[in-house]
Symmetry: C2
Subunit: 195 residues, 2 copies
DNA sequence: CTCTTAACTGAACAGATGTTCAGAACCAAG
DNA sequence: CTTGGTTCTGAACATCTGTTCAGTTAAGAG
């Protein structure tokens, strides 16, 4: 027997991507086999190659799609006061990352499993995202909105702090997302010494 | 031919551990083979089993040794004022992690590659380490040394921020370690709203 | 020098790996 | 009903995986 009834590219394709995303996040790229992905999709391993040229491209496509989404959704209203830009960034980062924990996890953990050219592409987008925060911090430093010793270092500290939310916060616990956002915004605002 | 001239357990043993640590940090546990470790040690794969019962134990031993070292080195003078305990913790965390980037990387990235019982052991030590920071934050809250909305969340935020240093800082750049410690201590002190 | 033993080799094991491909089964259009 | 093209199977490929072990070599003790 070959294909089973009711199977279509429009269904299998997304299913492959979702399954790979979940399994890569759970066990790591290197520890997940094509057969394992195929098994959870409900298909033989060979069929996956209708949707990706190879395993490496599957990882890269997932990471790239995530980064593109991130860049597109990132707030960028530079007409706002620096302090409001910073608040928008903080709240956005927490909410966006909270909505896609698997993709975030992969984007941070599987960088070393990318081929060199693929790595360069992803790393460039990340730099560009983090550059946005650094620009905000530098702007606020200029207007006297706050006082940081080094905008670059402060941006690293803020990003790390915010991304850390994903390691412990899940919806449905004792806190709502907006309460987490409030507390982190408070801490970030204090950390940079906002007046 | 069997063993080559001048080889000893006292040399090969540590070499196996060092090499495994480096390779696991560089490529990830699942992506590194026993043959690859053996090759860099200068030995055949079978010889590794004189030093570890299996690959999983090798990973576990490396992580456990790191966590034991961390717990032993952690400052614990509870006679100090909370603000001084917090400063000591911040400076210690940055310096200790800076000195062993590979071990730190593995301890954070390879948790999911531990067997269930091994994971429980490591996770317990990590919880206990982070609990120390939470206790400090709670103490300072009690004495009015600072004002955080939630000590648990603040401890997550501080840990994430401090651990993030390892992603960008290496000795020999434009900054010295103590300058990084100063800036992070400033940000942490601000973040918790120290008076 | 001889003997014992720790340290290591080299081959072997059974199974898993990513990837390819001829052919089968299905769907939709004419 | 026939045809064409898409989607999938099942087997095969060469290679790699962790691990075991009989046999070999070198180091150190007597």
């Amino acid at each position: 027997m070959a294909r089973t009834a009711g199977s279509h590219s429009g269904i299998t394709g997304p299913k492959v991507r979702q399954t790979a995303l979940r399994l890569f996040a759970e066990h790591g790229y290197a520890a997940v086999s094509m057969r394992q992905i195929a098994g959870e999709v409900g298909v033989q391993a060979g069929a996956l190659y209708n949707y990706t040229p190879d395993k490496q491209s599957l990882l890269f496509d997932l990471m790239q799609a995530h980064m593109v989404e991130l860049m597109a959704a990132m707030p960028q209203d530079s007409s706002l006061a620096p302090i409001d830009q910073l608040e928008a960034f903080v709240r956005f980062h927490i909410a966006f990352h909270h909505d896609r924990p698997d993709a975030v996890f992969i984007a941070y953990m599987e960088l070393r499993n990318l081929s060199e050219p693929n790595f360069a592409v992803i790393e460039d987008m990340r730099r560009s995202y983090e550059e946005r925060l650094r620009a905000i911090l530098t702007a606020g430093q200029g207007t006297g909105a706050w006082d940081v010793a080094d905008a670059q270092i402060a941006s690293f500290a803020v990003i790390a702090m915010l991304t850390g939310v994903n390691t412990w916060f899940r919806s449905g616990g004792r806190l709502r997302l907006d309460q987490v956002q409030d507390q982190y915004w408070q801490m970030v605002r204090n950390a940079v010494g906002a007046s």
